[in-house]
């Protein structure tokens, strides 16, 4: 079962939920794998301290021009829809950060003067988490290199690492927002848990996230963090849209302080284990309903 944890608004508690849920499941003997797919700002490792066993670079293809063969005909610059190649005089200039790796330039070069070579834009780290007495579980982290604009190849590589894995449960910590990197992270999930807070910003961004999930043909449930803060707009919206609220986490100073220190709430806050256990039952029920209806 693959569960993605996402949100429209940032800072609502995705990582808190993902890290504590994974640890709770591991403690109960469920085989679980956690993916940190928020590749721009991956934070799960700050709470789980994995031992990183392997690092695979994420490489994208960019054109390299063979000057011996190039006749400066300019076809490559003409066919590049992303303005990643220009011809200045008789020199072909490549701007690798604009390249989408579509391959048009190399395929259409009449002189076969363009080959594609790899350029690293991120890394996927394979780590193992040993949380106290609990059984170990894998944490896979996608990390976008600083200064790179395009997050999607690293997100895609992080998700692609799931091929052939055999854990019962895969949890994905997705980036905030509703655009391309989020879509790459949540696509293929059995259920998306949308984390929000009961404020006007939280509600507004939740509605966008729900639209995104529905546009992808996925089902979602809602977790409300700092539930006793703000107003009842989120609850009214969920009721009107038929969205199940699977968790209400209180606005508790102890929770905020434990998070600030980088501690798991499971270890710092009494009663959280039971709360997450109940949450998990709701998630499983919602995910299975999806399988029946689809």
């Amino acid at each position: 079962m693959r569960i993605a944890i996402a949100s429209g608004k940032g800072g609502t508690g995705k990582t808190t939920l993902a890290t504590n849920l994974a640890t709770m499941l591991a403690g109960r003997g469920t085989t679980v794998r956690l993916l940190d797919a928020d590749v721009e700002e991956p934070d799960c490792h700050l709470f789980l301290h994995p031992v990183v066993e392997r690092r695979d670079p994420v490489s994208v293809l960019v054109p390299a021009v063979d000057d011996e063969r190039c006749t400066a005909c300019g076809v490559c610059a003409e066919v590049c829809a992303f303005k990643a190649i220009t011809l200045i005089g008789s020199t072909v200039l490549v701007f690798p950060e604009l390249c989408h790796s579509c391959g048009a330039c190399s395929l259409l070069c009449p002189e076969h003067a363009i080959v594609e070579e790899g350029r690293d834009t991120g890394v996927v780290e394979y780590g193992s988490v040993k949380a106290g007495v609990r059984p170990e579980f894998p944490l896979i982290t996608g990390v976008l290199s600083v200064g790179e604009a395009k997050a999607v190849p690293t997100t895609r590589a992080t998700i692609a690492s799931l091929r052939g894995v055999d854990e019962d449960v895969v949890l994905i910590d997705a980036p905030p927002g509703t655009s391309c990197p989020v879509i790459e992270a949540v696509r293929g999930s059995d259920l998306v848990v949308l984390v929000t807070e009961p404020t006007p910003f939280g509600l507004h961004d939740l509605t966008l996230a729900v639209e995104m999930v529905r546009a992808l043909g996925l089902r979602c449930v809602v977790a409300v963090n700092r539930a006793d803060l703000g107003d009842d707009g989120v609850r009214r919206y969920c009721a009107a849209e038929g969205l199940e609220i699977v968790l209400e986490l209180p606005n508790d100073r102890r929770i905020a302080e434990a998070y600030a220190r980088g501690e798991l709430l499971l270890d710092a806050v009494d009663g959280l284990e039971e709360m997450l256990g109940a949450l998990w039952e709701h998630i499983v029920a919602a995910a299975y309903r999806l399988e029946v209806t689809s």
Partner: protein, 302 residues
């Protein structure tokens, strides 16, 4: 006339209070152009209640369309597409997945039957609205859409245009979380970058990453530690690191439930009042000094 100055507010981590700070700055500036560049989750309008301006469609890309009547189902398009955007089989014919297509046009170029055309995809809208504090340039990116970087650039350019047109001296940009394409698009050429963070291990980690990007662009920056009393030791550590990295100033704002109450009441924190309002006012004064220093440096360099 001197061109307008540009203050860009970012955070690395989401949910640190960028938008609340920007709304407060808008109130304090009394006559700046506001640009909501968090086009993925634009929230500034929720506290500024603008009178909405005319909507302009935004097209960030083009998409391939296969004409089923002209298509001979040779499958060449599906072979060359690197984005797995061409769906179908030789028996059923082919079509393009509009979400997966990146608009590279390679399929159109190689189609032997000339059955493929490119059409602009309208994937967002932008507008210039009027708030009680001045004009707001904001946008909406279609859900599940790409090219937020292009829309961010458009919003910033429009904000600068509006500032020049109306003789307003400052553009305040509400940026997006993260370090990727929308953030990079919101940074280029800024006069001052203010990073709003929080004293949590993730706030510190994410700030470090986004400040590396800011320094690659060699932009002057300052840091505001929000909810500073949540973990004073970590707050001080973040402040020390930011100062060592060359921050123009480091300010802090204590956690104040009034910030959330103001948001629920649909107003800015300055209007609502309280401790955070007073502290953000101090941050705003430091921003003014840093912008002035940047302007003087420019005059000196010129």
């Amino acid at each position: 006339m001197t061109p307008p100055r540009e203050l860009v507010v970012i955070s690395g981590k989401g949910g640190t209070g960028k938008t609340s700070v920007v709304a407060a700055f808008a109130a304090l500036a009394g006559g700046a152009v506001l640009a909501d560049c968090d086009v993925d989750a634009a929230d500034l309008h929720l506290v500024l209640h603008p009178e909405l301006g005319q909507e302009h469609p935004f097209s960030g890309r083009r998409q391939a369309i296969i004409d089923p009547d002209a298509c001979t189902a040779c499958g060449r398009c599906a072979e060359v597409c690197r984005f797995a955007a061409v769906l179908g089989t030789p028996d059923d014919g082919y079509s393009v997945d509009p979400i997966a297509c990146e608009g590279c046009e390679l399929c159109r170029r190689i189609c032997p039957a000339e059955a493929i055309r490119m059409e602009p995809v309208v994937n967002g809208a932008w507008m210039v609205s009027e708030t009680r504090f001045g004009p707001l340039v904001h946008a909406r990116l279609g859900v599940a859409e790409d090219n937020s970087g292009k829309l961010v650039t458009l919003v910033r350019n429009e904000a600068r245009r509006v500032a020049q047109e109306r003789g307003l001296p400052l553009v305040i940009v509400d940026g997006s979380p993260g370090i990727g394409c929308p953030v990079i698009s919101s940074l280029a050429g800024a006069d001052l970058v203010l990073a709003v963070t929080e004293p949590t291990v993730s706030g510190r980690h994410d700030l470090d990453r986004v400040l590396q990007v800011v320094r690659q662009f060699r932009l002057p920056f300052a840091v505001c530690v929000n909810k500073a009393d949540l973990n004073p030791d970590l707050g001080e550590q973040i402040a020390a690191e930011a100062t060592a990295a060359g921050a123009a100033f480091v300010a802090s704002v204590a956690y104040d439930p009034a910030v959330t109450h103001a948001q629920v009441a649909g107003t800015d924190i300055i209007d609502y009042g309280g401790r955070a309002a007073a502290e953000i006012t101090t941050v705003w004064e430091a921003v003014g000094d840093a912008l002035l220093a940047a302007a003087e440096r420019d005059v000196h360099d010129a």
